[in-house]
């Protein structure tokens, strides 16, 4: 069975500070890893994903995540956050499991950026 653990439920930071949102997963098979972002009162949007190849993946708005197989982690980072990055962030894993290939989500991390 697969599972995802997001280690921080809330992360408050000041604008222009760096941030790291931590995600660990467990799986007995190869996985695909995703970060989704949910802005207030909206649905989820894909931020970035790791499928294969380079372990460092980047999004168009400055976020990056690194797949670390030995530590079973996929932490999300941004060197300098903006107020507009305030949102809920979900780490998710997919692969082959009994419920088809739907995503298994972590419980989410609320990123609050203040000035």
């Amino acid at each position: 069975a697969q599972s995802v653990t997001q280690l921080d439920s809330q992360v408050p930071v000041f604008e222009e500070a760096p941030v790291e949102l931590r995600c660990n997963y467990s799986s007995s098979v190869s996985v695909y890893l995703f970060w989704y972002v949910q802005y207030p009162n909206q649905g989820l949007q894909l931020l970035l994903k790791y499928l294969s190849g380079s372990t460092l993946v980047e999004s168009i708005n400055g976020f990056e995540a690194e797949f670390n197989k030995s530590q079973t982690s996929f932490h999300l980072r941004k060197p300098s956050v903006h107020i507009s990055d305030t949102a809920e962030y979900f780490c998710a894993v997919s692969g082959l499991h009994q419920a088809g290939t739907a995503l298994i989500f972590g419980k989410g991390t609320t990123l609050s950026v203040s000035s």
């Binding site: 439920s9 996985v31 695909y32 995703f34 989704y36 909206q42 649905g43 989820l44 949007q45 894909l46 994903k49 499928l51 979900f90 997919s94 692969g95 082959l96 419920a99 088809g100 290939t101 739907a102 995503l103 298994i104 989500f105 972590g106 419980k107 989410g108």
Partner: protein, 114 residues
């Protein structure tokens, strides 16, 4: 604009009533999903469909049913609503059932069962 639409946006429902949440996508995606989002629990899969005519149970299927008569529509029915089904419901779709596929989410339906 291509995407997923959900209806209603929100609903207050008396316990014991039947309710169908609607979901339609115009991307011709094969796979569709229903999740519920609860504070502190993230999103949990209720039911899924890998292609029209087939459905499967997710992590929390009890009290819910789905059908997939065609590619575009994937309604979720609560036969007899209970207060524990108060939640925000998200419909999603992906091009295929492979785990590498990005899932696209609708705007959600906020359901309150009293």
């Amino acid at each position: 604009i291509a995407g997923i639409t959900q209806a209603p946006t929100s609903q207050i429902l008396a316990a014991g009533r039947r309710m169908t949440l609607r979901c339609t996508q115009d991307m011709r995606h094969n796979a569709m999903y229903w999740y519920r989002q609860d504070l502190g629990l993230g999103l949990r899969l209720i039911h899924y469909s890998n292609t029209a005519g087939t459905t499967g149970k997710g992590e929390v299927p009890d009290g819910y049913s789905v059908s997939r008569a065609n590619t575009d529509d994937f309604p979720l029915t609560l036969a007899s609503a209970v207060p524990s089904q108060t939640s925000v419901y998200f419909c999603a779709s992906s091009e295929g059932e492979g785990g590498w596929n990005e899932q696209f989410f609708g705007p959600g339906t906020r359901l309150t069962v009293l």
